[in-house]
Amino acid sequence: MKPPSPLWDAPIRLFHWALVLLVIASFVTAKVGGEWMAWHLRSGYAILTLLLFRVVWGFVGSTTARFSSFLKAPKAALEYARGLMARQHVPSVGHNPLGGWMVLVMILILLVQVSTGLFADDEVSTQGPLSIFASAKLVSRVNQVHEVNQWIIVGAVVMHLVAISFYQWGLRSNLLRPMFDGGALPPGSAARRGSTILAAVIFVVASSAVYWLVVILPRSA
């Protein structure tokens, strides 16, 4: 007998909590500045690696990790939101129709942040590894986006926390625990579990790609 499949597979949980720590680290190191900026850059590279992993895992991972399983039509998300307002909560397996969109938004705004970071230059002593390839005009644009987008991320994180609190105390639904212990799929669920070996391979490939992008490629300049 196979053990019951978890709601969230181990790669997703590792991804999630590593991302939490790294986003906090990135924010704090940027605010402290100075010599900590070296860690800000490293943290950004690690986030980029995680995001690349997550995007690929969204196509080949466990069912609940796949974009195809949780990206519903905007209409479905609206209807779900209306249901929430009316306190008629229909629990979902995996991301609910609204949360699914939030996942996509999170991934996109974080991708914007790390990719602008690659080209950013604070014009004092910190340069993104690819800023040497960009014109002064582009760098200045990228700096603006990197600056403004950090607050969009902060806003999204706040929304995320508010939503979890609402489920916890408004709907008596604990979303936090399964993100730690994996939770369990309801019996009879058709959801399939992704291959852990495949996850490891994707992670190694993502790490190599980022290493190439931030270490090897800049040497060619």
Binding site: G33, G34, E35, A38, D122, E123, V124, S125
Partner: protein
Amino acid sequence: MRKAAIACSLALASLSAVAQQPLKPEKQIELRQSAYALIGYNFGNIAAMAQDKQPYNKDEATRNADFVAMLSDVPKGFFGEGTDKGRDTKAKPEIWQKRADFDAKMDKMIQEAKKLPAAARADLTALKKAVADTGSACKACHDDYRAK
């Protein structure tokens, strides 16, 4: 003779009057930007050494540090009233609204920059510290008073 002396002193007086007249905003902006460009170039080199991106070379570091220290008090003189426009500038109008704070941050940068030459002549550890302190002082001002 007396006439010539009067003419001479008048000419001198008018010359000094010209010299005391503040530079046009356009010119002030150009001068401070030129100073910043050279500060940025020289500081960039020692910052790269401090971050181990470039091998530490004492002679080069000393040259760069001397330039940064010397140029650091140049921009301060070219932020006169009305120089928030007249030429493409990233200087924010807040500079002239919170002048005391701006000046304090500017002085802090100058103070830190003046420590660079000694640090560059000492060793890489000293240079790293001086570069970090100067960099933070630069950034403190950029964050508040320089448009992105």
